[in-house]
């Protein structure tokens, strides 16, 4: 019991402490690819410290939504952290409290409140960004559903800890075509959901072209810091689901000893850095799509996920 709680706390600490670092590495690598020096990889930590120390300005027109949404956005990735295998390959405490579908719904709650808060502030760009995020969101939804359906179909479960075990026992499952196609579809979803380049430009500062950023325009001080931090953690959590549950379920601790946990933390960090490199490659080799082409990008993801399902059905 005590050990389980300690391990859960270690999971939370891993996501809380290292998320900004991965965001920093991503930003730095992107700049290096573009032949620039770029900010230090610890810049996100400095940004967060600065924002937490600043005064907050809240529009007199806004309601409680605007004030509570940042906390929700900050909390939600941490809740999901408790449901998924971050460092251990044996189920913890809350492992069976919710499956991958639940994780998707919990993310949807924070997404909903973020859009409401963006509209609430009364900034015209906020409402525009909110409607665009919803568009991307509802186009991504069917892909997520089909991916989860196929996963549960293959592994007979949607509990992350069980799914993760399925790919490696026996190892042939790992090379199943449905698995490989699923990974492609899920990677495209990560790009869309975290506002990465074929869908949205995270480093763009032009309000009319923004999708994700424009929702946070009205936020300042602590709220801005919480939303930024929540965004970093969302990327890390999605990366962990992608890596630990779907792609490479190796390198996780199988006992609760401190050495094993530290080793697992190092291994998971390395895996996330590898994923960050993949994201940098994609971001540097593609241009941002026009808004109405996003449906085609996500349509392609949908085609890939349905093909994954069909190839799985063909094996019967």
């Amino acid at each position: 019991m005590a050990e389980s709680i300690a391990l859960n706390l270690a999971q939370l600490a891993f996501v809380l402490l290292l998320s900004p670092l991965f965001a920093g590495i991503l930003a730095r690598l992107k700049e290096i690819v573009q032949s620039k020096r770029g900010p230090s990889i610890f810049q996100p930590y400095r940004d967060l410290r600065k924002l937490f120390g600043k005064d907050e300005r809240i529009s007199a027109e806004s309601s409680w939504l605007f004030r509570t949404a940042p906390y929700l956005i900050f909390i939600v990735p941490l809740i999901i952290t408790l449901l998924i295998p971050v460092l251990t390959d044996f189920p913890l405490f809350l492992a069976f409290a919710g499956d991958m579908l639940a994780a998707g719904f919990i993310f949807a709650v924070s997404g909903l409140f973020f859009t409401l808060a963006a509209i609430d502030a009364g900034n015209p760009y906020g409402a525009m960004g909110a409607s665009r995020t919803r568009m991307v969101g509802f186009l991504a939804e069917p892909v997520i559903i089909v991916v989860l359906f196929t996963v549960s179909f293959i592994a007979n479960s949607t509990i992350p800890y069980i799914v993760q075990q399925h790919w490696v026992h026996p190892i042939a499952n790992f090379f199943a075509p449905s698995h490989i196609l699923l990974l492609i579809a899920f990677f495209m979803i990560i790009l869309a959901e975290t506002g990465r380049i074929p869908v949205d430009n995270p480093s763009g500062h032009f309000e009319l072209a923004m999708i994700d950023e424009s929702k946070a325009l009205e936020l300042s001080g602590r709220s801005a810091a919480l939303v930024k931090y929540g965004g970093y953690m969302k990327f890390t959590v999605l990366a962990i689901i992608f890596l630990n549950v779907l792609t490479t379920p190796w390198g996780l601790a199988s006992t609760g000893s401190i050495v094993a946990i530290v080793g697992a933390a190092a291994a998971v960090s390395l895996k996330i850095v590898a994923l960050v490199v993949a994201v940098v490659v994609v971001e540097s080799s593609y241009a941002k799509l026009r808004l109405f082409r996003i449906s085609e990008f996500l349509g392609a993801a949908f085609v890939v996920s349905v093909t994954a399902m069909v190839t799985e059905l063909l094996r019967l």
């Binding site: 042939a172 075509p177 196609l181 085609e296 349509g299 349905v306 093909t307 069909v310 190839t311 063909l314």
Partner: protein, 222 residues
């Protein structure tokens, strides 16, 4: 060993149908042609995989013929004959917009699967999936033919259907006589040659290759 081959073959089939759907929705002629080359390579890969164990020279020969005629000769014929300007056009004309076309071709894939499901039991289990994906590819290729209005993508649509028919053929008749394969292998580049000539002439006369608008056949143009 056989298990790995079945898995790899299933992956090839999945990528084959994705390549066919991508051909239906891509916007550039160049990309469409590259996807056709990828699709042909995947067909060859499936033939090689199924021909490897138990060793079947027919399938290996089919793979070699496919690579030679569809990866080397046909793209070369099209590039040599079709005027280069049409490759620079940014967007192809389409009768149905891209998201709708994606969904329709996806639906056709499922129809192909449902259609082949009862037939799968009749085919040898190693290549059962080829039949389903071949039928699906045939339907998507037909749809591609209907969606496109320009000559070269339409030609690529016919060739994609032909690839899909071969894919299904591997499942139904693995010991297809080689002479038929060779005949088709010479037939198809000839088809490409004729359509490419048509596209070239049409482009010279009317400045476009949108043959979808050609409705009536006349003896001569005054």
């Amino acid at each position: 060993m056989n298990g790995i081959i079945v898995e790899l073959n299933a992956l090839v089939l999945g990528l084959f149908i994705i390549a066919t759907i991508a051909m239906t929705v891509t916007r550039q002629i160049g990309a469409c042609m590259q996807l056709f080359i990828v699709q042909s390579l995947l067909l060859a890969a499936s033939a090689f995989l199924l021909g490897a164990s138990p060793l079947s020279w027919h399938l290996v020969a089919l793979g070699c013929v496919t690579v030679l005629s569809k990866v080397v000769i046909i793209p070369w014929v099209i590039r040599a004959l079709v005027p280069g300007e049409i490759n620079q056009r940014r967007e192809l004309a389409q009768t149905i917009d891209v998201p709708a076309a994606l969904l329709i071709s996806l639906g056709l894939t499922l129809v192909g699967y449902a259609f082949a499901q009862p037939l799968i039991h009749a085919a040898p289990s190693l290549s059962a999936g080829n039949l389903a994906m071949g039928v699906a590819g045939l339907l998507v290729g037909l749809f591609l033919l209907a969606v496109r209005v320009e000559a070269v993508p339409q030609l690529l649509g016919i060739l994609a259907m032909e690839n899909a028919a071969f894919l299904a053929g591997i499942a139904v008749a693995p010991d297809f006589p080689l002479i038929a394969e060779l005949a088709i292998a010479f037939d198809v580049p000839l088809l490409a040659f004729i359509v490419a000539l048509l596209a070239r002439t049409a482009y010279r006369r009317i400045g476009t290759t949108e043959v979808g608008g050609l409705a009536a056949l006349r003896e001569w143009i005054r």
